[in-house]
């Protein structure tokens, strides 16, 4: 164990990054990486690729629940606000309508539901994705600029229990990438 305060000590690399030219190669590689038993992996592509997260073994259930919660909170909040202000806080007879005019409360309740759900969809997605995150080790790789253009990348992280600087590189090179690079931390 090296001195954690030593500024000059080389950090262990973030992982190994393989670059592919086509989406087929990436999906094949992702499948093989999974069969090989790697867990700490990620893929990068310029557009959403179907089936890629299945190949990498990610699952997803939290976001829809967050959105449901946001929508319910918005709708209930909106209705309670209207009820509280017009029945309890300042009851006022307008046009012979009851204080608790539920048909008239409907539109605002609806808008608040949508607002709550939409805000939680967007901010929930960013939060779960840990964004904004201006710095990430993969950006250190020169050719990673192309991940937003026309190249596909697959990364195996060094914290993976199966990771081995030599063996993993060999394995990645066997998948037919155009390049395998080490990602500095």
């Amino acid at each position: 164990m090296s001195d954690p305060w030593d500024q000059n000590a080389a950090l262990p690399p973030f992982g190994l990054l393989a670059e592919f030219k086509t989406v087929d190669e990436l999906v094949d590689a992702a499948n093989k990486v999974k069969t090989e038993g790697y867990k700490q992996t990620d893929a990068y592509s310029p557009y959403p690729v179907e089936g890629l997260t299945d190949a990498l073994g990610h699952s997803l259930w939290l976001l829809p629940l967050v959105v449901l919660g946001g929508g319910l909170a918005g709708g209930l909040g909106g209705y309670m606000l209207q009820w509280f202000t017009s029945v309890y806080s300042y009851p006022l007879i307008v046009a012979d309508r009851p204080f608790h005019s539920w048909p008239a409360f409907f539109p605002v309740t609806f808008e608040c539901t949508i607002l709550g759900a939409s805000l939680s969809a967007v901010f929930g997605m960013f939060a779960l994705n840990r964004l904004p995150m201006p710095y990430h080790p993969v950006f250190n790789v020169e050719s990673f600029d192309k991940a937003s253009r026309d190249r596909f990348f697959l990364c195996i992280r060094s914290i993976d229990p199966k990771y081995d600087a030599v063996e993993t590189r060999k394995f990645l090179e066997s998948l037919g990438p155009c390049e395998v690079q080490e990602v500095p931390e």
Binding site: V23, Y44, P46, Y47, T53, L63, V108, L115, M125, K146
Partner: protein
């Protein structure tokens, strides 16, 4: 800058010209934003739009200085141009959300090349619409009184008033549209960041992209969030114009209080919105030479949606006139008499001509696929939809139940100034948008390419380019 050209022009039914690659799509769209030259045509247009924007600045400044008396409004018409223009602008905005949300849910892939542009249009149109209620308050600095907040008077908004519903509907709409637009932009901002050669633009795009890196799990959450937003925006867009129609229908002014208003207003909004998308898209695809992305197929589909919604609007006019007779209610009859033979008749005839008769040309495929003709029709529909709101607002307010409260109305030069000024605001914002942000979604365009889908995933690449109409 590398010149990018597809193999050939897009044929009928194709939504992207063949021969494009991931790289060429990226370059072609980003180069419009990321180049060091400033086109003289763009600059001239911006100068013109900015001039119009200054009309808004002057009119609004004078309005604040002198007060609402400079407008043509007076009892009985205290809702004049302000409401007409507000509804007109909000309606125009609706096409953007329709394209980005409803067509996404309907899996209409042709929406891809126009959604960004149309969403921007929505935002700017809502911004223009928002000007009118604000200025109409006379004291815009008290706009926050519309919001429910605890105050020393102990007062709250009047929840049984559709005008309060409108505040909630429009502000929710503006917020959700902005979110939708921004979420769609994030991956493209990352592309621009990675392509940037200039430190400044790299930093700005980098900040806005928030460190997007195209990770697979991010993409998946992104798609879920985007789909949910679309599913939320769809009822939202319907509710917004429904609530706008309640501004009229919830009252009992003859000609306003009629149950068909919500669906008919929604259809009218989409109608005018698509007219505005065409008004803008036809010159833009010409100037920026992006006919390989916005093909004649797109124009055809948009024209079909215009025809459909136009027919629903015509149904609204028809059923209103029929029901006025059927009701045997003298006030309802008087409204229709006023429209057919009364003081508002010329506006009404013009509206029927612009909104019902001329658009019937869209039944012909030739008209739907000829940009110049379509452009003219879209302008006519824009005019017609403005007239529709004018007839509804002015026609009914000047001829109320009691003849003693009848009146007359005409807009003053300041009414027109503010109206033209908002068009200036709209065009200015739009021109700046075209120059600084990608007007077509780069990452979504890539998914239209045949090589975008992994094989063995049940993807029929032959289907590429094949689309069904939306009518």
């Amino acid at each position: 800058m590398a010149t990018v050209s597809p193999l050939r022009e897009a044929k009928e039914g194709e939504i992207i010209a063949p021969g494009h690659t991931f790289g060429s799509v990226t370059d072609k769209i980003s180069d419009i934003v990321q180049n060091d030259t400033i086109a003289i045509g763009w600059l001239a247009s911006l100068a013109f739009a900015f001039m119009m924007l200054n009309i808004l600045a002057i009119s609004a400044a004078y309005l604040l200085y002198r007060g609402l008396g400079i407008w043509g409004i007076n009892v009985p018409v205290s809702w004049g141009f302000a409401i007409v223009n507000f509804v007109w602008w909000i309606g125009i905005g609706h096409a953007g959300t329709l394209i980005s949300a409803i067509l996404l849910l309907l899996r209409q892939r042709w929406r891809t090349s126009i959604n960004r542009f149309a969403e921007a249009m929505t935002l700017f149109a809502v911004a223009c619409a928002g000007m009118f209620p604000l200025l109409h308050m006379g004291r815009p600095y008290f706009a926050y009184w519309l919001m429910p907040y605890p105050n020393t008077f102990g007062l709250w908004p009047q929840w049984r008033s559709p005008l309060v519903w409108d505040v909630f509907a429009v502000s929710t709409y503006a917020t959700v549209s902005l979110l939708f637009w921004f979420v769609g932009l994030v991956p493209d901002l990352a592309t621009l960041r990675d392509r940037a050669t200039n430190k400044w633009t790299q930093t700005i795009f980098g900040l806005l992209a928030m460190g997007w890196r195209g990770s697979a799990i991010h993409w998946q959450r992104y798609e879920v969030a985007y789909g949910l937003l679309a599913a939320l925006a769809t009822p939202l867009v319907v509710s917004v114009h429904t609530v706008v129609s309640f501004d009229f229908a919830a009252g009992i002014v003859p000609g306003w209080h009629t149950t068909i208003f919500p669906p008919y207003f929604v259809a009218g909004a989409i109608y005018s919105g698509f007219a505005m998308v065409l008004t803008l898209a036809i010159p833009v695809r010409q100037v920026y030479n992006i006919k390989d992305f916005i093909t004649t197929t797109h124009l055809d589909y948009m024209a079909r949606i215009m025809l459909t919604t136009g027919l629903i609007v015509a149904y609204g006019y028809g059923i209103e006139a029929f029901m006025a007779w059927y009701s045997a209610n003298k006030f309802e009859v008087a409204v229709m008499q006023n429209r057919f033979t009364g003081v508002i008749r010329w506006e009404y005839y013009m509206l029927i001509l612009c909104n019902v008769l001329v658009p019937q040309l869209l039944w012909f495929k030739y008209v739907r696929t000829t940009p110049s003709v379509l452009f003219v029709i879209s302008l006519i529909v824009n005019l017609g939809m403005w007239l529709e709101r004018y007839v509804i607002v002015i026609g009914s307010l000047t001829r109320d139940n009691l003849p003693s409260s009848w009146g007359r109305y005409s807009g003053t030069i300041w009414d027109w100034g503010i109206y033209l000024g908002t068009i200036g605001l709209f065009l200015t914002l739009l021109l700046i948008f075209l120059r600084v942000l990608p007007m077509i979604s780069i990452f979504e365009m890539k998914t239209l390419l045949p090589e975008a889908h992994p094989h063995g995933h049940g993807h029929d690449t032959k289907n590429h380019g094949h689309q069904e109409s939306v009518k």
